[in-house]
């Protein structure tokens, strides 16, 4: 029980990063403290579950509301920053869909195909997804992880396909179909990182 509550507290504290940065700086630590206090005070598992469910569902709504308020504020004061924020939002939404879809695909492939090939693909696919998720906050590191794992995945898939197709070019093209979203996300993160740096320099 203690381990579970510690995990939930950690998860909650991590999710608070999804609030706009100024909001997080002002209230993030306090919110994590209050949530931890609330959860540790409760001894009944059912009550703990109810609190967690309500807090997490409310958190989603509140994050959206605060992000929207922050965007409206930025639009008035710094349109360039508002534009970057909108791009980030699109990237984040797509990254969730991408993460869910490709993880599901990798697990399906692992279940139905060769154990070791599937496992290696799943491992690198997971690293790629972690890179995409890191990119939520740290675009530069996220881009490096995503692009590196996309390249590795392409090579692994190409070698596996080459055994069947026996044509390196066709194998490469087919494997790129599989890893193209990874490259796109990596490049998108790089561009985002460059724009953020530029906007910070201008500010």
């Amino acid at each position: 029980m203690r381990l579970v509550t510690t995990f939930i507290m950690g998860l909650y504290a991590s999710l608070l990063h999804a609030y706009p940065a100024p909001y997080y700086e002002q209230f993030g630590d306090e919110m994590a403290d209050v949530f931890a206090q609330r959860l540790s005070e409760e001894t009944r598992p059912t009550k703990c579950f109810a609190i967690t469910l309500r807090e997490f569902s409310d958190l989603g709504v509140n994050i959206m509301r605060e992000q929207w308020a922050h965007y409206q504020e930025l639009k008035q004061t710094n349109p360039k920053a508002a534009q970057i924020m909108a791009t980030k939002f699109i990237f984040r939404t797509f990254s969730i869909v991408y993460a869910a879809f490709f993880l599901w695909m990798s697990i399906k492939l692992w279940e139905n195909g060769s154990y070791w090939n599937g496992l290696v693909t799943l491992v690198f696919e997971t690293i790629l997804l972690v890179g995409v998720l890191i990119g939520w906050r740290w675009q530069g590191i996220g881009a490096i992880v995503t692009l590196t794992s996309a390249v590795t995945l392409t090579v692994i898939t190409m070698m596996a396909l080459n055994v069947m197709v026996e044509n390196i070019i066709i194998s490469l093209l087919l494997s790129l179909v599989w890893t193209l979203p990874g490259f796109c996300f990596g490049l998108m993160l790089l561009m985002l990182n460059r724009n953020i740096r530029k906007s910070k320099r201008l500010a």
């Binding site: 909001y23 002002q26 209230f27 306090e30 919110m31 403290d33 209050v34 949530f35 206090q37 609330r38 309500r54 807090e55 409310d58 958190l59 709504v61 509140n62 994050i63 509301r65 605060e66």
Partner: protein, 111 residues
Amino acid sequence: MTLAEYLPLREATFFIMVCLADDPKHGYAILKEVETLSDGRIVLSTGTLYGAIKRLLAQGWIERMDTDDTDGRDKKSYCLTDLGRRVLQAESNRLAHIATLGQRVLSRSQS
């Protein structure tokens, strides 16, 4: 802007301001007191509470202050400002007026 333009307050906002009227409180104490004052009817989530606190700070109705916790950690507490107190007073008067009006009409219709 006159005080009347701020009214009516949301129920949760009203309760948060009421529990800050006596003395400064930190986040968890506010949550607990709002629950007690409303007889368990209003159970705020942490996110909703801090969303409300952010708006109240922006409007200048409450202010933030540093207080030492029993375990020596710095804790942020919140207290009502003069403007906040006047808004709370205005809202209380408004609610009292509505309640009186309701009671008067009910007692008239019963007699």
